[in-house]
């Protein structure tokens, strides 16, 4: 029997949900509002009504080129996602379909690397990057972001592949499919939703990554996260311009996230309910 919920409780729950949603959304909203203010308005105190100027956006583009970091963000996030998938698909595949006694340990070990604070390895990483000439290069950042997100990608794909019944693969084997045939005709079409949601999440994670991007890049390979940070110096803080830069930086990923929200939710909750 369904649990009875009174109308009053429904109203309270709805109101509480709205409050939480607004609290979460408010910083983004306020960032957009601030980007439409003049600098004096921006530092004058909290106000939700901007003068509606677009000069900050123009200035952001004039002072510093937006498109170069944008292009860097696209290349680094897509590149790291693609490489992570190329490594993770076969890895998750073998862990899901021919696990060994150590598979669970390996999965836990991979996850444990995410528990370490990044700053703990900042110095060795910086030195390695400096000595190998990878500082301020797209390749360097792509490699770092690939490695950072690889555990999550493997975990997601592993969970997803585990949902595919092994008997279907065995049936394909009996039907004469080679390993390649099995992958191309049976597994990939069945795994496409999982691969797609993993890809989307990884793009978002890579796009938003700031710690390594800011520390390992300068003018050449800086993605949008470094682009935002650059507005906090050296001339001091310009809140309106910073907000305009931030809005420009998150806009592409916000739009992508909006259009792919169903895929993302499905990917993140996969395996929770059979």
């Amino acid at each position: 029997m369904a649990r009875a919920v009174s109308t009053r409780r429904k109203w309270i729950a709805t109101a509480a949900a709205w409050v939480v949603a607004l609290v979460i959304f408010f910083p983004i909203f306020y960032m957009v509002v601030t980007s439409l203010k003049t600098e004096p308005e921006a530092i004058a105190g909290i106000s939700l009504i901007p003068s509606g100027t677009f000069e900050n956006y123009v200035e952001v583009q004039t002072q510093r080129d937006y498109f170069k970091p944008f292009l860097n963000s696209v290349i680094i996030s897509l590149g790291s996602t693609l490489i992570a998938l190329l490594i993770a698909i076969p890895a998750a595949w073998s862990m899901a379909f021919s696990p060994t006694r150590r598979t669970k340990d390996i999965l836990m070990w991979m996850l444990s690397t995410k528990m370490m604070p990044a700053v703990g390895v900042l110095v060795p990483m910086f030195l390695i990057f400096r000595d190998t000439g990878l500082l301020d290069t797209r390749i360097g950042l792509t490699v770092v972001l690939t490695l950072i997100n690889l555990p999550i990608v493997v975990w997601m794909l592993y969970t997803y592949f585990r949902e595919i019944p092994g008997e279907i693969l065995e049936a394909a084997r009996m039907d004469g499919a080679t390993l390649m045939g099995e992958i191309v005709y049976v597994l990939t079409p069945m795994a496409v939703p999982g691969i797609a949601s993993t890809m989307l999440l990884n793009i978002i994670l890579a796009w938003n990554e700031a710690f390594w991007s800011i520390r390992l890049s300068a003018a050449n390979a800086a993605p949008l996260t470094a682009f935002i940070a650059s507005f906090s110096s050296p001339q001091g803080l310009f809140w309106a311009k910073l907000s305009a830069a931030s809005t420009l930086a998150i806009a592409p990923i916000l739009i992508m996230g909006w259009f792919s929200q169903r895929q993302l939710v499905r990917g993140l909750t996969f395996g929770a309910v059979k």
Partner: protein
């Protein structure tokens, strides 16, 4: 051709032996059923024949050729799985066509074979549907269709009816038996259901803990079980076993009498008992009777035989139908 020979086939997972050395001969065109309780190794044995599991040692010959190390597809066998294992993203047509596409058959051949299989299995109207839009019975037919088009030397069925309801199971049982009559191809069928085994098989292989307990025709096993395990497994309701003095009177450690081989009377007989539960099936009534000095005995009575809980009845086992077993459980 579909002769399959197993020679000293042994399978172990680490230290756990699933199949100790097994020898088995399956002739072309036979319908062989592997039957046994859950975990007896029957599915593993089928998967060894299919090539989905590697043997630890021993040889598997198919039509005389050593196939022990060959890939599943190279063995010329087709398999129908318990969960149907259909490709959910493909239409019924493409599911059935899949093995032919993998064999790189030309389009006309594929089309002709798929349509012929669909006709045989009454699937023509569903060719464009996805497996998710079909009932359990239809899905099972698609799985069989996918096996048929390969024209294999033998079909392997792994508990194919266990996901279906009782009525559909009966229908599909007949359909598979009829298919066997039509195709005359070797079929190996795994089930834990002895009714399926008895009604479908030319030859039953009874397995217990990986060992073959007995091989024979359904009636051979029913009439002359080699040991207590086979005697208890084959036949429904199961055989009554009696030990102690009553068994000793027949010079045995245990005697077995099937419920249908016990005559019932309300006035006289060899054993006196009190009726417990009576299961009325219409044509037959199965009575669970507490017999003095023996214990619980199941007896089959005519549907018209009317007794009630607590009534006294007399039971007389048919002397020629009493099975005798020694202390090791082997038939005497």
């Amino acid at each position: 051709m579909g002769n399959i020979t197993l020679k000293n086939v042994h399978k172990a997972f680490g230290a756990t032996v699933i199949i100790p050395d097994i020898d088995l001969e399956i002739s072309d065109g036979e319908f062989v059923v592997f039957v046994g309780p859950s975990g007896c190794g029957k599915s593993t044995l089928l998967r060894l024949i299919a090539g989905l599991e590697d043997t630890t040692s021993g040889t598997i010959l198919i039509d005389g050729a050593d196939m022990t190390g060959e890939a599943p597809a190279k063995r010329g066998l087709a398999m129908v799985f318990q969960s149907y294992a259909l490709y959910p993203h493909m239409s019924v047509y493409n599911n059935i066509a899949f093995p032919l596409k993998m064999a790189k058959a030309d389009k006309e051949t594929i089309d002709a074979k798929v349509r012929a299989a669909a006709q045989t299995l009454n699937l023509t109207a569903y060719l464009e549907r996805r497996p998710g839009q079909l009932s359990g019975g239809q899905r099972q037919r698609v799985a069989i269709g996918r096996a048929i088009v390969r024209q294999p030397s033998a079909f392997l069925f792994d508990e194919p009816l266990s996901n279906l309801d009782a009525a559909l199971r009966g229908t599909m049982r007949l359909e598979i038996s009829e298919l066997h009559q039509q195709l005359k191809t070797t079929m190996i069928y795994v089930t834990h259901d002895q009714v399926e085994a008895m009604t479908m098989a030319d030859k039953i292989v009874v397995l217990n803990a990986g060992n073959i307990e007995q091989v024979g025709s359904p009636l051979d096993l029913y009439r002359s079980p080699r040991n207590l395990f086979v005697a208890g497994f084959i036949g429904s309701p199961r055989m009554n076993f009696v030990t102690g003095e009553e068994a000793a009177r027949h010079n045995a450690a245990t005697i077995g009498v099937r419920p249908e081989h016990i005559r019932l009377s309300t006035t006289e007989g060899a054993w006196k008992g009190v009726v417990g539960v009576a299961e009325h099936l219409g044509s037959d009534t199965f009575l669970h009777i507490q017999v003095e000095g023996i214990g619980q005995v199941t007896a089959r009575a005519d549907g018209e035989f009317t007794v009630h809980h607590g009534d006294a009845v007399w039971l007389t086992p048919e002397p020629t139908k009493i099975h005798r077993f020694d202390a090791d459980g082997n038939a005497i």
